[in-house]
C-alpha cells in the first residue's frame, strides 16, 4: 500500500522515523514528562503512563511551565526525548528545546507544524517518517 503523505511546515528541520503517539490535549513537560524514563507523568493528561521516548509525539501545543524546554533538553541529553514533535502551530517552547539541544549536544529533533485538518487525521500507532522538508509519510 502506498504511503499517505501529510504536508507539514518545518519549524525546526530534521529527519525522524517512529511510531505516532497522538493527543489532542496540550502538555507541559515540566510536571508532565519524566526525562529519566521518557514517560508522560501528568495525571491530568490522557496519555499519563505512556512512554513517548523515541516516538513521534503529536501534541497541539505546549502549556504550563516555562521549564518545559529545560525538561526536553534533559531528555535529549538522556536519550529519552520524542523522535519528533508535531504540533498545530509553531510552538516556540518545543522549537527552542530542539535548537538548544543542537547547540549544546549536536542533537536536535524535528518540530513540524501541521494544519488543523492534517493534525486531526493523525492516529497513534501508525509508522511515520518525517522528512527534512516537513513532509510526513504515514506507512
Amino acid at each position: 500500500m502506498a504511503d499517505r503523505l501529510i504536508a507539514g511546515r518545518p519549524v525546526v528541520e530534521g529527519e525522524a522515523e517512529g511510531e505516532a503517539l497522538v493527543t489532542h490535549e496540550a502538555l507541559s513537560f515540566w510536571g508532565g514528562y519524566d526525562f529519566q524514563t521518557g514517560e508522560i507523568i501528568d495525571k491530568h493528561h490522557p496519555l499519563v503512563g505512556v512512554r513517548a521516548a523515541g516516538r513521534i509525539l503529536a501534541v497541539p501545543f505546549s502549556k504550563g511551565s516555562s521549564t518545559t524546554t529545560a525538561v526536553l533538553l534533559e531528555a535529549v541529553r538522556a536519550g529519552t526525548a520524542p523522535a519528533a514533535i508535531l504540533t498545530t502551530g509553531a510552538d516556540s517552547f518545543f522549537a527552542l528545546a530542539s535548537i538548544v539541544a543542537d547547540v549544546m549536544y549536536g542533537k536536535s529533533f524535528p518540530v513540524i507544524a501541521l494544519e488543523p485538518d492534517a493534525f486531526a487525521s493523525l492516529q497513534s500507532g501508525r509508522r511515520l517518517i518525517v522528512e527534512r522538508s516537513g513532509l510526513i509519510r504515514e506507512r
Binding site: I41, K63, G64, S66, T67, S92
Partner: protein
C-alpha cells in the same frame, strides 16, 4: 525575512565576545520560529532557567558563565533547586544540593540580582506598565502582562537568559499592542458575590479559565469584586498551570481592560463561553485528588508567600500549635521572610510550628521525605503539579482550612459556600 541591526550583527559575528554570540545565534534562530521581521530592545529580564533539573540545565548555565556571559539589563532570578541554608533538614541529597548551588553561582556570575523567587513582581524588580521585558516562569509572565501591563512573550527557560545577555527579543507577540487584544470572552453568570469574595475564588477561576482558553487570550467579564494582589497572583499561577495563558484581562480589574470594549481593542471575540457556579464547583473539586482525612503536610507559597500573606496568616495561627503529626511548610523568598520578621508577623507563625523554605519550593527541590504522601494547600499551582511531580495526594482549601487542618491533625474544610453555590 529577519532584518538585524548593526549591533545585532556585531553580536552574531562575535564582536561582543563569545557569550553574546552564542545567545544571539539562538535568538536569531528563534526569531525565525516566531516569524519576526526584526528584534527589539527590552529593559528587564527574569530568568527561569535557574532551576536545576539535571546535568543539561547545569551544563547550559556553566557554558554561558564560562564564556563570560553578563546580563545587559536588570535581571531577576527565579527559584533555584535548593535552599542553600535549609536543605540538610530535608531529603535533598548532597550531590543534588552541590549541583543546584553550582547552577545558582553560574547565574549570579552573569550579574543577575539574586532574588531567587517565582514572584519577582513582588520585589524591587517589579516592572512598570508598558515596559518591554523578557520574563520566564509561567505565573510571573501571566502576572507581569496581565496585572501590571508590562509586555513579555511567554519566554521559556534557556531563551530568557539569551534575551537578558543581548537585551533583545523578537519583535512579535505580546510585545506588540494589537496582539494583546482579548480573543475569548468568558462571562460569569449568576456567580454569587459571597463566592467571589471567598479566599479560594480566584485560584479556582484561574484553574477553570486555563482549561477553557486553549491558546487564546481570555477576557473575564462579570467579576464584581476588587481582588487583592495575592488573589490575582493565585489566578495567574492557576491559569498558567492548567493552561498556556500568558495574558488575561479581567474587565474592571486589570489595566488593559477598563471596559469590555477596551479588553478586545474593539474587536469581536472569536469565542464566547459562560461560567456558572456549577462550573466553578467542578473546577474546585478537580484540585483535590486526596480522599479521606489523612494529612501529612500543609504547604503554602506557590507562588512564593508574600508579606501580605504572612500578615494574613499570623493572626490565624497566633497562640496555637500544629498537631505533631502534621508538618506546616511555607515556601518564600529571603526578602519576604526578612520583611515578615521586621513586621513582627513571622514570630507567631514560627511559634505555631511552621517551617520556612527559601529560594526554592517542594516542586523544584527534591526535599520531601517519602513518608509525606498527603498534602493540603491553598495554592492551585501546588494542587495541579504535586500529584504528578511528587506522587502525592492533595486537598485544596482556603488558608483558614489549611490552618484548622494543621491544628486538628486531619483534613477539615468549610465547604458551605461551595456546596450551596
Amino acid at each position: 525575512m529577519l532584518q538585524l541591526s548593526d549591533r545585532d550583527r556585531a553580536m552574531l559575528n562575535g564582536d561582543h565576545g563569545p557569550a553574546p554570540q552564542l545567545a544571539m545565534s539562538i535568538l536569531v534562530r528563534m526569531a525565525d520560529v516566531y516569524g519576526a521581521g526584526e528584534l527589539m530592545d527590552i529593559s528587564q529580564a527574569h530568568i527561569d532557567s535557574t532551576m536545576y533539573l539535571g546535568d543539561a540545565t547545569l551544563e547550559f548555565a556553566e557554558r554561558l558563565a564560562s564564556l563570560g556571559a553578563r546580563v545587559a539589563v536588570p535581571t531577576s532570578l527565579n527559584v533555584s533547586g535548593v535552599d542553600e541554608c535549609g536543605w540538610k533538614d530535608w531529603a535533598v541529597s548532597p550531590e543534588w544540593a552541590a549541583k543546584a548551588a553550582r547552577q545558582m553561582l553560574a547565574y549570579e556570575k552573569m550579574g543577575a540580582v539574586p532574588t531567587w523567587t517565582c514572584a519577582p513582581y513582588q520585589t524591587q524588580m517589579r516592572p512598570s506598565f508598558g515596559q518591554q521585558i523578557a520574563w520566564g516562569e509561567s505565573n510571573a509572565i501571566a502576572f507581569a502582562n496581565s496585572v501590571i501591563g508590562a509586555r513579555t512573550e511567554r519566554y521559556p527557560d534557556l531563551l530568557d537568559i539569551c534575551c537578558a545577555i543581548t537585551a533583545r527579543v523578537p519583535a512579535v507577540g505580546l510585545h506588540v499592542t494589537e496582539n494583546r487584544a482579548g480573543q475569548m470572552l468568558l462571562r460569569l453568570i449568576d456567580v454569587p458575590l459571597a463566592l467571589q469574595q471567598d479566599d479560594q475564588f480566584f485560584a479556582v477561576l484561574g484553574h477553570l479559565v486555563g482549561k477553557l482558553a486553549g491558546d487564546l487570550i481570555p477576557v473575564i467579564d462579570g467579576v464584581a469584586v476588587q481582588p487583592a494582589e495575592d488573589h490575582l497572583k493565585a489566578f495567574a499561577a492557576a491559569v498558567a498551570s492548567s493552561g498556556r495563558v500568558a495574558l488575561f484581562h479581567i474587565v474592571g480589574v486589570t489595566p488593559e481592560a477598563p471596559t469590555l470594549d477596551a479588553a478586545f481593542q474593539r474587536r469581536a471575540p472569536q469565542q464566547t463561553l459562560d461560567i456558572t457556579a456549577t462550573d466553578l464547583r467542578g473546577a474546585r473539586s478537580e484540585l483535590t485528588t486526596a480522599d479521606g482525612r489523612e494529612l501529612d503536610m500543609v504547604i503554602l507559597g506557590s507562588p512564593h508567600f508574600s508579606l501580605a500573606e504572612f500578615r494574613n496568616l499570623a493572626p490565624l495561627v497566633a497562640g496555637q500549635h500544629t498537631d505533631p503529626r502534621v508538618r506546616f511548610l511555607i515556601t518564600s523568598s529571603r526578602l519576604m521572610k526578612e520583611m515578615a520578621a521586621e513586621a513582627g508577623v513571622l514570630a507567631p507563625i514560627v511559634e505555631f510550628g511552621a517551617q520556612i523554605t527559601l529560594d526554592t519550593c517542594i516542586l523544584a527541590s527534591p526535599m520531601l521525605p517519602p513518608e509525606i504522601k498527603t498534602l493540603m494547600t491553598n495554592s492551585a499551582k501546588y494542587a495541579y503539579y504535586a500529584p504528578s511531580l511528587l506522587n502525592t495526594r492533595v486537598t485544596f482549601g482556603s488558608l483558614a482550612d489549611c490552618v484548622r487542618s494543621a491544628i486538628e491533625g486531619r483534613v477539615v474544610r468549610d465547604d458551605s459556600l461551595w456546596q450551596t453555590a
